[in-house]
Every structure is written in structure tokens, then in C-alpha cells.
């Protein structure tokens, strides 16, 4: 995956997150599309793409959030590295297996973020386990859809092209 594509995936994820973030106020829904974008880049193209996606996405998320800039960047970079390394070492090809990686990454991300907040603020934050589980489910679902689309769309386009060709040749006859 080229850097421009990594950037495009992350930018789209941040835009989605900002557009839907108001649904997360008050704990109505819990999700992190930026994390899904980071894991997507990492699993598709390896640890380096994952790290870059994590850095870019995390920093964008921090700038938008208005908190300490670098917190999400650091955590997303580490998550991008871990998932990228895992994805290349154990070749995970199926969409549902990749969605499981997104789910696992959500738990790692949540715990790392809580730990970092604890280090910065010197108080251990309240971990809402139900919200974390909800985020795992929603993120994994969104990841599954994204991976399924990347598998299905090129194939469908190729099938469409191959269907059109014989009819054209018949017309020429």
C-alpha cells in the first residue's frame, strides 16, 4: 500500500469518526473508526504502513479531540506495529479473521490508552467494560465490512468486464 493510499484510508477514517463522534457522546455508542483504518492499513500492507497510519491517524484524532496531542498517536502507532507484524507473520487472508484482529486491537488500544492516561494524569481512569466490548463489536463489524469490500469489489468488477466482452464480440460478428 503506497503512502498516499495509507493517508487516504486514514483521512477517510478520521472524517467518518468526526462525522459520527456525536453519537458517542454520553456513551450511546462506542466506536473508533480511526483504529479500524489503522488496522486495515497494517493488515493489508504490514507493520510500516500500520505505524505510519497510526501516527497520521492518531495525530489527526488528537488535533480534533483537543486534548494532549500525541497520546492517540503513540497508542495507534504501537497498535499499527503490533497488528502489522501479526498480520504478516501469520498470513491472515479471510475477512472474518481480519475482523477478529480488529476486535483484539480494540482491546489492546483501549487498555494502552487507559494506561497512558493514568501515567499522564496520575489517576487510573474508569474503565467501562461494556463500552469497550461494544467498541470491539462495532469496530470488528466495520472492519469486516471494509475487508469484505476490498475482497469483493475487484472481483465483481472483473466479472462485470468479462461478462460484457462476449456480447460485444457477438455484435461485431
Amino acid at each position: 500500500m503506497r503512502l498516499t493510499r495509507v493517508f487516504a484510508v486514514v483521512a477517510a477514517a478520521v472524517l467518518l469518526q468526526v462525522a459520527f463522534a456525536r453519537f458517542a457522546i454520553g456513551g450511546r455508542f462506542s466506536f473508533d473508526f480511526v483504529l479500524v483504518g489503522v488496522v486495515f492499513a497494517a493488515v493489508e500492507s504490514g507493520a510500516v504502513a500500520g505505524m505510519l497510519a497510526g501516527t497520521i491517524g492518531g495525530l489527526m484524532q488528537d488535533f480534533v479531540a483537543g486534548g494532549v496531542v500525541g497520546v492517540s498517536g503513540l497508542v495507534n502507532t504501537l497498535v499499527g506495529y503490533i497488528t502489522g507484524t501479526f498480520g504478516t507473520r501469520f498470513v491472515v487472508a479471510k475477512a472474518h479473521a481480519r475482523a477478529l484482529i480488529v476486535g483484539a486491537a480494540t482491546i489492546i488500544h483501549y487498555l494502552m490508552l487507559a494506561s497512558l492516561h493514568a501515567v499522564i494524569t496520575q489517576t487510573w481512569p474508569v474503565i467501562v467494560w461494556t463500552a469497550m466490548l461494544e467498541a470491539v463489536v462495532i469496530n470488528a463489524l466495520v472492519g469486516w465490512v471494509a475487508f469484505q469490500l476490498t475482497e469483493a469489489v475487484p472481483g465483481a468488477m472483473a466479472r462485470g468486464r468479462s461478462r460484457r466482452r462476449p456480447s460485444l464480440s457477438r455484435r461485431q460478428w
Binding site: 463522534a21 456525536r22 454520553g26 479531540a65 483537543g66 496531542v69 502507532t77 499522564i120 474508569v126 467494560w129
Partner: protein
């Protein structure tokens, strides 16, 4: 693919960069750092645009496509308007009487602070941090620590350094938020704080002798110098335990899941001034 060593080097460099970036943002006494203010100012325009587009799409759907039950709702609202107009007449009459009494007693007139409406342009994308960004900033006279309300009650307060056209509002349900509170029926004072897994507030620092029962209204006391007194915070939902271990659960009056427009109270917060003894010593000086 890069060799493993180069990948690890890149990881270390990136992590080190992040750690340095985090370390550089030591929060000052006035609030957020300059980096934070610049970041908020630059992204608020984008957030505002995204919020406008998503709001426009939602508005188009609600106003032109999903019109089921609108006429019924309209009728109900007309009835409610009539009812409220009646109440308004009564309140005006009462207000006139209060004015006359204040005039007669030569009392200082009670001033109701002005408010400005602000649109919520973004929620916090970091899970667990309960802040929102609104489209009003220093250009509109917004200052740090100004309280933010809705028609239902207290929402939170402005935190950090607002940019020209955007500010960050910390919701009362955030883990670091708190407000001075009074139980309306008994007048017992305490502190309401957020950050609980159930999304409810807790009323703490309450005298063990104070009587609190379910359904009691909890309002701001004004003693924190941020929230004006008398604004509704919520109602007591449950009282668990007794004595010093008593836990008072307060259901917030504001539905934090659906905040689109808020009101910023334009009164300057009256934070307690630091006592002269707490002043840091002058450079090179010694403490007595």
C-alpha cells in the same frame, strides 16, 4: 517490505517523537497549551463544515422525506405553545410584582446572565473523554470556565483556551468534572461529580445528617464560582447505603446522548482567588 531492523528503528523514532510531543505539552496554570489552542482553532473550521454537511443531510431527511406523524406532532406542539403562553403570562405578572417589590425595598435587581446559543460541531473521538466542541469562541466573548446549559439543565463548562470561533466544553459526566450542588428540598449542600460507568452522576461531600430521597431535585449551589446557582443538575435516582458510606445517584437532567445546540452563559466565572500565602516565591527568593 523494509528489513526488520529498519522497521524497529522507525517504530522507536515514531514513539520517541510522540513522547517528546506529549512531554512538551505541560499544561499551564491558565489551562491548555498554545499548541492545543492552535490545534483547536485550525480544526474547528473543518469540524464545523463536516457538522454542517451531516446536519444538512439529516435535516433534508427529517424535513422533506421522513414526515410521518409530523401533523400529529404539530397539533401537540400547538397545544403546548398555548399552554406555555398561559404560563408566560403568569410569570410576567409575577416578574412585574417582583420588580415592584425590589423597587419598594430598594434592593439590587437580580440580573439574569445573558446566554448565546452554540451548535455542537463535534464530539470527542477519544473514547471515554466526555468533551464536545461548539462553534463559539473568543470572537463571541466566550472565556474559559463559562458554564454551558440547555433548556433542561447544566451541560458542563468551557475548558482550555477557546479559539476564535470554537471552544471545548467538558460535560458534567466526564470523569474529571464536578459542580457545587444543593438538594432543593432540604437545602443540603454537596458536590456532584461524573465519570461513572452508568452515565449517572454522584452527589458526594454531603452531610450524613442531610435527608435525601429519591426524586429530589439537585440544583447548582453557585459555590464553585463557575456554575450560577439554581440551575437544574438532575434528580436523585437512588440512595444506596446510609451514614458516611451513603451513595446518592443523580440522573442528569440533560440527555447527553442528544445535544445539538447548547447555551453558553456569558457571565464571567468568579473563581476563588489564591490566598497571598500560596503565592510562589520570587525568583531566587527563599520561603520564610
Amino acid at each position: 517490505m523494509l528489513p526488520r531492523r529498519r522497521t524497529l528503528t522507525l517504530l522507536v523514532v515514531l514513539c520517541l517523537g510522540h513522547v517528546l510531543l506529549i512531554s512538551s505539552q505541560v499544561p499551564s496554570a491558565s489551562g491548555a497549551s498554545a499548541l492545543d489552542t492552535v490545534a483547536l482553532g485550525s480544526v474547528s473550521r473543518v469540524q464545523s463544515a463536516i457538522g454542517g454537511v451531516s446536519g444538512g443531510i439529516g435535516g433534508f431527511w427529517r424535513h422533506y422525506l421522513a414526515l410521518g406523524g409530523v401533523s400529529r406532532e404539530n397539533e401537540a406542539l400547538r397545544g403546548r405553545v398555548l399552554e406555555l403562553e398561559g404560563q408566560l403570562q403568569g410569570e410576567r405578572a409575577r416578574g412585574a410584582r417582583v420588580d415592584a417589590l425590589e423597587e419598594a425595598l430598594k434592593m439590587q435587581r437580580s440580573v439574569v446572565a445573558q446566554t448565546i446559543a452554540a451548535r455542537v460541531i463535534a464530539g470527542n473521538p477519544v473514547t471515554g473523554v466526555m468533551t464536545i466542541n461548539v462553534d463559539r469562541g473568543t470572537a463571541d466573548g466566550v472565556q474559559p470556565n463559562m458554564s454551558v446549559i440547555t433548556g433542561a439543565g447544566i451541560v458542563g463548562r468551557v475548558i482550555g483556551n477557546p479559539s476564535g470561533h470554537a471552544s471545548t466544553v467538558q460535560l458534567l459526566i466526564d470523569r474529571t468534572a464536578a459542580a457545587g450542588a444543593l438538594v432543593e428540598s432540604s437545602g443540603a449542600a454537596g458536590v456532584v461529580s461524573g465519570g461513572f460507568a452508568d452515565g449517572k452522576l454522584r452527589l458526594g461531600l454531603l452531610s450524613s445528617a442531610a435527608t435525601v430521597k429519591e426524586g429530589d431535585r439537585v440544583v447548582t449551589s453557585g459555590q464553585d464560582g463557575i456554575f450560577p446557582n439554581g440551575f437544574l443538575i438532575g434528580t436523585v435516582q437512588a440512595v444506596n447505603g446510609t451514614g458516611k458510606s451513603r451513595e446518592v445517584v443523580v440522573a442528569p437532567a440533560v440527555n447527553f446522548e442528544r445535544i445539538d445546540v447548547v447555551l453558553i452563559v456569558m457571565a464571567k466565572p468568579e473563581l476563588p482567588k489564591p490566598s497571598p500565602t500560596s503565592k510562589p516565591p520570587a525568583a531566587g527568593g527563599k520561603q520564610p
